[in-house]
């Protein structure tokens, strides 16, 4: 029996195995129990199957508290870096569950791929605007007819949703998920709306951009993006309903529902996204999945750009700039939707699923 050396040092194994190695050390330690939902979930078990690792990885919000609090980080031979290990296992799971799978790698790993997709999306929209220029129509619809927008965006919205659904189903199977009850959903949403797992356990936030000091800056920015996105989504949704159900086509005035939702939403999305991008340059790369950094950065910038171009479009209402800004904005939205299943955007869906699963395991 090996007495004089440890078996708990990292070896060249899979990301899941490395995460498991670290989680087993944490389970013997438990000092980080108060930081987030990951540790209580760890302590409920003694052995960790691959599906358990996937679940824990998606439950982790990468607050990094457990890294700075860990007495076993390198150069210690236990070499704990749980935020990184879980980030890599998480990214690995997203690529595994993505459908069709070959799309996931490039967009997760490369900001350039996202930028290229954006340019293609923009070009497609400019082409559509040029080639299919409507004869009549008011406002936006003078630039692009409603029918064309709908025929582009309906599939561009539904197909990614289908892809995400397929991925989530695979996730649910791997983590051994059970039928979902209302109570589970309530618990999961209660965590999500407050981003409880980024609170560091003492509501002082996370350790992202200031090393071992806690701040809520990232949490607030993330909230801005999340709520900004939801408001924008609600704005578009309300406009669609107004168009079809109430026969009230765009443009809408300042005090209409789409604008009341869309303008604050756009502002939150733009500023929150920019903030996230700035924070990303300050955070330690090696406490996440370094290979994904570029893809994540491109994704937050894309989000921010989508918000900003939407606001610009509204500000330009009635001017000639609309003919440029409309395809610009719609091209960004198109790219965003199409990439949703293969970019950082999926994290929201998997994280929510992980929170639901966690609620099940707690009960």
């Amino acid at each position: 029996m090996p007495l004089d050396h440890t078996t708990q040092t990292p070896a060249a194994t899979s990301q899941t195995d490395e995460a498991r190695r670290q989680i087993e050390i944490c389970n013997a330690c438990r000092y980080c129990e108060g930081y987030c939902s990951v540790f209580p979930a760890i302590t409920r078990q003694r052995a960790f199957a691959d599906g358990d690792i996937t679940q824990l990885a998606n439950l982790c919000h990468n607050c990094r508290g457990c890294y700075y609090a860990c007495q076993y980080t390198e150069p210690h031979e236990f070499a704990i870096n749980l935020p990184k290990a879980l980030a890599e296992a998480r990214a690995d799971s997203w690529e595994r569950f993505a459908w069709p799978g070959f799309l996931a790698g490039p967009f997760h790993r490369s900001g350039v791929a996202i930028a290229v997709a954006l340019i293609v999306g923009l070009a497609a929209l400019f082409w559509a605007a040029q080639a299919l220029k409507p004869a009549g129509g008011e406002g936006f619809y003078a630039v692009m007819s409603h029918t064309i927008m709908v025929s582009i965006f309906t599939p561009a919205f539904l197909l990614p949703l289908l892809a995400i659904f397929v991925g989530l189903r695979a996730y649910w199977r791997e983590v051994g998920g059970q039928p979902v009850s209302l109570a589970h959903l309530k618990a999961a949403f209660a965590d999500a709306v407050k981003l409880k797992n980024l609170s560091g356990g003492a509501a002082e936030g996370c350790n992202f951009e200031k090393g071992d000091r806690f701040t809520n800056v990232r949490r607030w920015h993330h909230q801005a993006v999340m709520y900004g996105f939801l408001l924008c989504f609600a704005s578009t949704g309300s406009a669609t309903l107004m168009h079809y159900l109430l026969d009230m086509p765009a443009p809408y005035g300042l005090f209409s529902l789409p604008k009341l939702l869309g303008i604050p939403g756009g502002l939150l999305l733009t500023l929150g996204g920019l903030g996230m991008a700035v924070l990303k340059t300050r955070g330690e790369k090696d406490l996440g999945a370094p290979a994904l950094w570029g893809g994540e950065m491109a994704f937050v910038l894309l989000l921010s750009f989508t918000g900003a171009s939407g606001l610009a479009l509204y500000a330009a209402t009635g001017t000639a700039a609309v003919s440029v800004l409309l395809p610009l904005h719609l091209g960004a939205v198109l790219t965003f939707f199409l990439l949703a299943p293969y970019s950082k955007m999926v994290h929201g869906f998997y994280r929510l699923a992980a929170l639901v699963r966690d609620a099940q395991q707690k009960s």
Partner: protein, 485 residues
Amino acid sequence: MLGRTARRRREALSEITDKVWDVVVVGGGNAALCAAIEAAEAGCRVIILEGAPKTYRGGNSRHTRNFRCMHQGPLSVLTDSYEEDEYFNDLLLVTKGNTDEDLARLAIRTSESCLPWMEAHGVRFQPSLSGTLSLGRTNAFFLGGGKALVNAYYNTAADLGVEVVYEAQVKHVEIEGGRFQAVAVEIAGAAPCRVEGRTIVLASGGFQGDIDWLARAWGPAARNFLIRGTPYNRGVVLKDMLDQGADTVGDPTQCHAVAIDGRAPKFDGGIVTRLDCVPFSVVVNKDGERFYDEGEDVWPKRYAIWGRLVAAQPDQVAYSIIDAKSSTLFMPSVFPAVQSDTLEGLAEQMGLPAAKVRETVDAFNAACREGDFHPTELDGLATDGVEPRKTNWARPITEPPFYGYSLRPGVTFTYLGLKVDATARVTMEGQKLKNVWAAGEIMAGSILGEGYLAGFGMTIGTVFGRIAGQEAAKGATRGVNSNAA
């Protein structure tokens, strides 16, 4: 490029060596930080000389998880009350009376006001960790553990303008005519230098990192001991003070050791290497023989006893064997157990004489009797007719797979320390030194003469660290005045 960094380093160094600091703090763990923060808040210019690199800053304090705290009513995360007398009695029990009652009571009484002080200086608490419910009333657990506490204190100290130098090993404390003048320091990448101060706080821990010293004190067996905490506590400052005639307390030949996983790293394995399987197991030495009652008491209480027991076995190693029915009754271990479907297979994998292990386990099994088994309390399920007896949780080891763990003594700290008074002042040949204070492990022997009470190390460090910082600050200002006069 290189030239510039070298120049910058020289400049940084001269900033440290060109002035006379109000308070020089030696060490960078809990006691040092509490002292530095108190002194800085009193308006002093303070320098911390931490021997370890930044990643290993915080000594053994970074391995801790809780703080034992007196409280007359609910306090922060602590429920109910834990009064002075109960606390003191707990201390008397573990130290077998080997304590200084006045200093002990001072530490206990002051702990109550330390908790809010800790919170005000960035430490966050949480309810007791899973698996440690027995400490929920008496001990406040640090959110994120001791390293999070250490980080919070370093940030607080930085905000107060305290200068911190890492990889700064103090080699010698210059004391003349009962007065400290300067320390001799070796800072990584620089020539040895002197740092002058008006006062000094010594908070550099025990000497357990110096294996040669341990071996001199304990005997050659100590070379097989594992050190649970930092390798940087080598007692250099303690020895330097002893050589200059400082008064000491604590038994120089003793250290606090517990039985930990034999596969733990030589240093710094910390909390995760503890093994809680012993009460449910049969423990044999390398000859395959049992040597002590595995079921004497609930494990946390017997933890330290087993450190000594294992230290007395050949090669300072023992093996704990359980079977399938006990495999989930204790906290998970950091290393997976050795596992086999047969007892002989297990013995072979662990390098034990298989026939002898079989004989020992058979004899033990034959001595087990029917009865109710309660893993969480003393259940009185004892053996009958085997030596040594197992007095609780004695169930036959029969159900495969069988699991085995090796055990070795893991040293937590040493007892020998500097003698201090109630103001944490160090004495030399019975005389109080004018401007030297000590806090934490380096003086803990004054209060903890033997044994250990969970969470008391941090109590001693916090209480005396704060006192030392306050007293040194007073001394520094007095010193300025008297120098001027």
